[in-house]
């Protein structure tokens, strides 16, 4: 990450010689306003979203987080199923995406000769460029039927004794489909960050290990991973953040079910997906408010995840600048 140029003097400097150049002052304030936009937007987002969620927050309190009803008739709402769904789909996808992404990053930095790297690198990044709605379309019309006809029965047949694969994969829309789609979305992000990290490992450390007779894998395990450990953690967390917030592709393939799913082959729902599917036509005011309450929870989760990742990233950058 590039560092800002710091040798240029700050605002006090253009008041040197007791004379403020008007051009400097204008540019300073215009750019300052622009820079504050992000903060203003964040504050506005927090305020508007909290204001609309407030009726539900007041009515249901923190119990909302564990309640699993979603009954507009009885005016009982709870985020429990959706928090569960968000956690399962995001963490499940991360579980699949992490080893794949790290392996891809290793492939591109340690194994592949230059020309392969030049081809595969952009291809993996292109995967990140596929819009989520297109992945969702593919998920509904291609992946879903494939899960029902081939992949699902194969897994259910061999691993069906494990509860998470316990039910028959009847429907294309399921938690499993959502996990696969999220994995596809997470892999490019995690692998590109990891690739940058692995490239940043000092060559001398690796050469030293090789000189001692270590195999390539032992160099990776003994030098690259420990060096990049914190960065890998940040990459995984950023990937997780991507999965948490994905509304469109997930709502297209997850089945929008309210009941708590008992296996991955059952339909379920996540925070983002529920908001996307129900917000437009929400009936009672308290239902609208409950949906915005879901948005507040989602916002808190994503902010926590992102801030955590940013802190790690900054600490890693600082440490590596010193060394």
């Amino acid at each position: 990450m590039a560092t800002a140029s710091r040798s240029v003097p700050g605002p006090a400097a253009f008041q040197r010689r007791g004379r403020v150049r008007p051009g400097d002052a204008i540019l300073y304030f215009v750019t300052l306003l622009a820079a504050l936009t992000a903060v203003v937007l964040l504050a506005l987002i927090a305020r508007e979203v909290l204001a609309d969620a407030w009726p539900a927050m007041k009515a249901y309190g923190l119990g909302f987080l564990t309640a699993t009803d979603w009954d507009p008739n009885k005016k009982l709402f709870g985020a429990g199923t959706f928090i569960f769904g968000t956690a399962v789909t995001s963490l499940g996808a991360l579980l699949l995406a992490a080893p794949i992404s790290i392996a891809i990053a290793l492939f591109m930095t340690e194994l592949a000769p230059g020309w392969i790297r030049a081809i595969i690198g952009p291809l993996v990044e292109m995967l990140a460029a596929v819009p989520s709605v297109v992945l969702g379309l593919w998920g509904i019309l291609v992946l879903g039927p494939f899960i029902v006809s081939t992949l699902g029965p194969a897994i259910h047949g061999s691993l069906g004794w494990i509860p998470i694969f316990g039910t028959e994969p009847n429907v294309g829309s399921s938690m499993f489909a959502a996990i696969l789609i999220l994995t596809i979305m997470m892999v490019p992000i995690i692998s590109s960050i990891c690739r940058e990290l692995f490239l940043g490992v000092p060559q001398e450390l690796k050469e030293g290990a090789l000189a001692l007779g270590a195999t390539r894998w032992e160099v990776v395990r003994g030098v690259v991973f420990p060096y990049a450990r914190a960065g890998i953690a940040a990459a995984l967390i950023l990937g997780l953040g991507r999965g948490l917030g994905e509304a469109i592709a997930v709502t297209q393939v997850i089945g929008n079910n309210v009941a708590m799913p008992t296996s991955l082959f059952e339909p379920g729902d996540t925070l983002a997906s529920r908001i996307a599917s129900q917000y437009q036509g929400a009936d009672y005011a308290i239902q609208v408010s409950s949906l915005v309450y879901l948005a507040v929870i989602l916002l808190v989760f994503s902010l926590a995840v992102n801030v955590l990742a940013q802190i790690i990233v900054r600490r890693v950058a600082g440490r590596h600048r010193v060394s």
């Binding site: 009847n170 079910n257 599917s277």
Partner: protein
């Protein structure tokens, strides 16, 4: 001393000036954001997916007849109620009549029935014929999760001679706020005590199990892709997508199909309008008149504001829909509305002004 390269200065200043000018223009556009209104000769509507097939025909025919463009976004009854409440459309559409709460929040809305059709219960069972028989109690038990397989005795004994597969039943329901759901669950309320106490009726309910889909088209979509699925949507969707649908047992003891005959018979069940023009024709009582009645029929309502900026275009369109528009219905299994409903609609329409 040579001055700084003036060309680069000019470029830099021009770029910055352009950036600032452009953001100023953008700010002006945003600040002048008056409410988007349809231009003259245009009407905007949104709401239920139930009447959407007929409204689509109306859009076509009305434009060629009167030159007025009507646009309609099928986003579900809840969406239609929200849109007319938020004044983002000229008319809304909902199969579920507005509750007193919703009337209060809409603040100046009226509703009138303008379309009459049936909710079909569709199934995806390759190899089995169309119009298998089912009862309301069985449907409720399926959606409650009490009947889980197609070869359950409670289903097979209604259809002797047909071989049902040993397949899981996947109930499909509307995930968005839906008047069709309201119609379907209102019917289940009358058919199953357990359904009434455990789930109840509404445009969104706490479905015990199954897969959710957006819109009647979404439900038809999931159904067409999922073997062993059961779902509900306006009969027009079942026909359009070549989906099979059940004959449902009515209170007179006959298994009735969601066709024009069945709908017409059912419409006789309620001729008394509520104070807000609502009619409920779900599960008609036993009796000779209702021998052929299909038990899951409903009117669908158009929602209007008494103060409509576009009243001059809106009223003729609604009048046309109530009268000439009905002739396009039967082909899509929309039964033309009875004369007393047309009269009530015209009377209500008088309350709309600009």
């Amino acid at each position: 001393m040579k001055s700084l390269d003036t060309r680069k200065t000019r470029v830099g200043a021009a770029v910055c000036g352009l950036l600032i000018a452009v953001s100023a223009v953008a700010a002006v556009i945003m600040a002048s954001g008056a409410q988007a209104r349809s231009g003259a000769g245009e009407l905007k509507g949104a709401g239920a997916t139930f009447p959407a097939p007929l409204i689509a025909v109306w859009q076509q025919q009305y434009e060629s007849a009167k030159g007025v463009k009507v646009s309609y976004n099928a986003i579900g009854s809840g969406g239609g109620i929200a849109a007319i409440t938020n004044k983002t459309v000229d008319f809304g559409a909902s199969d579920a009549p507005l509750s007193p709460d919703q009337f209060a929040r809409c603040n100046g809305c009226v509703q009138l029935p303008w379309v009459l059709s049936a909710t079909s219960v569709m199934y995806n069972l390759p190899g089995l014929p169309n119009n298998l028989r089912i009862t309301g109690q069985v449907i409720a038990d399926i959606y409650l999760g009490k009947i889980t397989k197609w070869n359950d005795r409670r289903i097979t004994r209604l259809n002797p001679g047909k071989s049902f597969p040993d397949k899981e039943i996947t109930p499909v329901y509307r995930s968005d706020s839906s008047g069709t759901s309201f119609n379907f669950t209102s019917y289940l309320n009358t058919a199953s005590k357990q359904w009434k106490s455990q789930v109840g009726n509404g445009t969104t309910v706490n479905w015990p199990k199954g897969v959710g889909a957006r819109g009647s088209s979404g439900v038809s979509g999931v159904l067409s892709r999922t073997e062993g699925a059961i779902g509900y949507a306006d009969i027009a969707y079942a026909l359009k997508n070549h989906l099979k649908f059940f004959s449902v047992k009515n209170r007179a003891g006959n298994f009735a199909r969601p066709g024009l005959v069945g709908i017409k018979a059912a419409s006789l069940a309620d001729r008394k309008f509520s104070s807000t023009n609502a009619l409920s024709i779900v599960n008609p009582p036993p009796g000779k008149k209702f021998r052929k009645a299909y038990p899951i029929c409903t009117y669908s309502y158009v929602l209007l504001r008494t103060t409509s900026p576009n009243a001059a275009e809106l009223k003729p369109f609604i009048t046309w829909a109530l009268t000439s528009g009905q002739q396009y219905g039967p082909r899509l299994i929309f039964q033309p509305i009875p004369k007393y409903v047309v009269a009530k609609g015209k009377a209500t329409l008088k309350r709309v002004h600009s």
